[in-house]
Amino acid sequence: MESSLGDRLVGLLGSNAVVPVDGYNVDGLTPQAVVRPGNRLQVSEVLRWASAEQVSVLPWGGGTRMGLGNVPRKADLVLDLSRLDRLVDYQPADMTATVEAGVTLASLQEQLAPGGEFVPLESELSSRSTVGGILSVGSGGPLAHAYGLPREWLIGVSVLSADGIATKSGGKVVKNVTGYDLNKLYTGSLGTLGVIVEASFKLLPIDREAGALMASFPSLSSALSAGQKLLHSPAAPMGYQSVTSGASRRLQDSLNAASQDLGLGDPETALSFAFYSGRANATARRLEEGAALLLSAGANAVQRVEGPASNGLLRWITDAPSEMSPRSALMMKLSVPSKAAPSTSAESSDITLFGNRPEQLADPGFGTIRLFWPQAPGGAEEQPFLDAIKQTQQIAHRYGGSAVVEQCPLPIKGNIDVWGDAPDSLAIMRRIKDKFDPAGILNPGRFLGGI
């Protein structure tokens, strides 16, 4: 069976497009074959064939978020899109760009930089994360308070349907209400409705001056309430992130001298980062007023980080969840209205797993709180996980938000819906899925409600 699927694909696309399955596991499942098409015609052929043969297809960008979502019901074929990596069209004066889905975010930003522009997408591991993958996940990063989610920047998309038919929505212009806005539907659909092969984005000019504030607080809750004050002031940053001291320990090592000044010895200490960019004068004024505001709002100490060093901090915070991942037994991401962020964070901090409280990375502006419970010896027992997950979801739901399990042991993952309780619109979502993928071959089971 294993060889036959691969052999049939070799027959379909030639041997160049079929690659070894090593390293392409999804939730412990090894696909029967991995195909790496060289152009979108080949992607279309694969999909048409898979649809007819009822072969399940798992689209794969950089493979950085393949653990997101439920355990797939079937994982026959991985469709690696990394060879579709061309910048198709870039007109700096239009402030738009069109790219193939397999280009990495870092590579795209490098290609846009000579035009003085960037695409306001954020992702962990940007040198591996692809545009298609980032759109499929649909999440933002530490600057989501300013940039929002990828949905805000996608102006057009080309998608191959489950049976390989090319469709598009939107276009290459920045304002467009021609036809339904399917861009929004594909963004965040985790590859369950079609395979994104090309995307057009609205861009922004690169700001001339970047800077950051780094502040220590006696507790995470004081860091978050100070953050809300800052975000509601004229010195509002582009993004504000607070981390518990355990989560910031790595940073502490790399910024040894600075962190000593910030008094990070105390385990209760929390660290906050406020990121700024813009014109030099305005950035300077925001940094100055912001630092004063944080001190008066209870910070132990505040440090200014200017220029490229602040970009380094931003990268560290962006990648923090990936860095925390190997040391974490359970990772959850909560999204709540911003006002509820401090209470959500405080209540979540009391949820223990094998006696451990979670480390936290919290964004009180956008309302995202990530929780990381550390690995514990002998921590394979199922019930404590289910209890912690349930309690966390209850907190998020009480504040009108959601809580997604981003990482947990596989046996537990197989028994839960990582997305939490389904909203009352699930029936509409199911009907959409049935229309777009009647054979149910695209990422079966990974999405909300087993879609």
Binding site: D94, G171, V173, V177, D181, T187, P234, G278, W419, R431
Partner: protein
């Protein structure tokens, strides 16, 4: 179901006074801001989600098609009643239910007027950013249906970037919540695809929108240019300097003449183009960028540059732009407004081609547009009393849209497809593209009972009727 019995049913839900069905009373609901018209069967004014749900369930059961109507300012026929349809309108559901300053959001009913929301939340130092030029009259429910834009969408995005969640009623009367008060939700982004669905997916009965802080400083610049080409060069120069203004608007010579005829906006009679630029931010930010904008205007051939910071002075600079469409009435009794979008770099070229269309069809075309977004608004001027004038205009409008599409653009930036442009959808989208769109509609409204006959080509020609260029009309 018999008409009388159906009406009695509607009256039983919303009260007798809130169902309009006499022919003369219905005439005002026959129009929106476009050239299309259609007389509804009846118009219903519900007061609550429950009433909307029961009205829809009744009509659905009776096989009567329905269309939501905001305030009728739409420019593509979106709210025009399809044959035999009832309209559901929201003058009674016009309450701002909550302003949550900590979460920076407002919860509103669909009949709330856009400007009323903005004015109300400014008391709290907040604002609602999407500002369609009809904002004094248009409602949030209609804004959702059309994904309305406006001058300040250049920096802040259109309606879809500001809607957090909605309570909507589906064609069967079922009430469903889309999105949430949190910025990120799980599942498909249904509130995203609902926004701009032109009333075909459902009717929003409660809407949560994001609010933004009022900036510390706002400065408006007005540049007078000898011609549209040099004004377009100024637009490029500003963008190339890494500046994204809050708004970047242009009007051309014909519009300037019309404006000056109606009231003195301070434009020289021989001006070829007026460019309006608005900057927002911290005081020192606006100072620094303002100096660069001013320099760019002079460098690209402006003959005059004015700047204003106080609300009153800024209003004066905007007056000509805001009153432009109404002023066109001084040149011709009617206009047909085209909403094509092109890449910014194609603006000058496309405006040149639009001028050729003007010559070819012997139609004066005035241009008032969102230059920063590449969103054109050529106004084709005519007199509907002249035989064949409207057909000539519709043909010329179609040619303008083809030019926009050929330049890499599209049919509509903010007005919607509606009835007006449905037959032109194949210029932009393939059968397969449209089939994918329709399959989403099928998931929301399998029986297509809400606003049928809009957006997608069906070969059905609709009745046109020109409407006068009245002072209240805006774009």
């Amino acid at each position: 179901m018999e008409f009388k019995k159906f009406l009695t049913g509607l009256q039983g839900i919303v009260g007798e006074a809130n169902v309009v069905f006499h022919h003369d009373d219905l005439l005002v609901f026959e129009y929106d801001g476009s050239v299309d018209r259609g007389l509804p069967y009846a118009v219903v004014f519900p007061a609550s989600t429950d009433e909307v749900s029961r009205v829809i369930a009744l009509a659905y059961g009776a096989g009567v098609p329905m269309v939501g109507r905001g305030t009728g300012t739409g420019l593509s026929g979106g709210a025009i009643a399809p044959p035999g349809a009832i309209q559901i309108a929201f003058p009674r559901m016009n309450h701002i239910l909550e302003v949550d300053t900590e979460n920076r959001l407002a919860l509103v009913e669909p009949g709330v007027i856009n400007l009323n929301l903005d004015t109300h939340v400014r008391k709290f130092g907040l604002r609602y950013a999407p500002d369609p030029s009809s904002q004094r009259a248009c409602s949030l429910g209609g804004n959702i249906a059309e994904n309305a834009g406006g001058p300040h969408c250049l920096a802040y995005g259109t309606t879809t970037n500001h809607v957090l969640g909605m309570e909507v009623v589906l064609e069967t009367g079922e009430v469903v919540n889309l999105g949430s008060l949190a910025r990120e939700t799980v599942g498909y982004d249904l509130r995203g695809v609902f926004t701009g669905s032109e009333g075909t997916f459902g009717i929003a009965t409660k809407i949560a929108v994001r609010l933004l802080p009022v900036p510390e400083s706002v400065r408006t610049f007005l540049g007078i240019f000898p011609d549209v080409e040099s004004a377009c060069t100024a637009v490029s120069a500003i963008i190339e300097n890494g500046i994204v203004p809050a708004a970047l608007e242009m009007i051309d010579a014909l519009t300037i003449q019309a404006v000056q005829k109606v009231s003195d906006a301070g434009y020289p009679d021989d001006a070829g183009a007026v460019l309006l630029i608005e900057l927002e931010g911290l005081q020192n930010e606006v100072d620094e960028i303002g100096a660069e904008v001013e320099a760019a205007l002079w460098d690209t051939g402006a003959t005059q540059v004015r700047a204003a910071e106080s609300a009153e002075e800024r209003e004066q600079l905007w007056a000509g732009r805001k009153g432009a469409l109404g002023a066109l009435g001084s040149i011709a009794p009617n206009y047909f407004l085209v909403d094509g979008v092109v890449p910014r770099t194609k603006l000058a070229q496309v405006l040149g081609q639009v001028a050729e269309v003007s010559k070819k069809y012997d139609i004066p075309i005035a241009n008032v547009f969102h230059a920063g977004d590449g969103n054109l608004h050529p106004c084709l001027l005519f007199d509907e009393r002249q035989p064949g004038a409207l057909d000539n205009i519709v043909a010329a409008g179609a040619e303008v849209l083809r030019i926009c599409v050929d330049a890499g653009g599209t049919l509509t930036g903010e007005h919607g497809v509606g009835l007006e442009k449905k037959e032109q959808m194949p210029l932009v989208f393939s059968e397969e593209d449209m089939a994918a769109m329709i399959s989403v509609r099928d998931a929301f409204a399998p029986d297509n009972a809400l606003n049928p006959g809009k957006i997608f080509p069906d070969g059905v020609q609709h009745t046109h009727s020109a409407h006068p260029a009245a002072p209240g009309m805006t774009v």
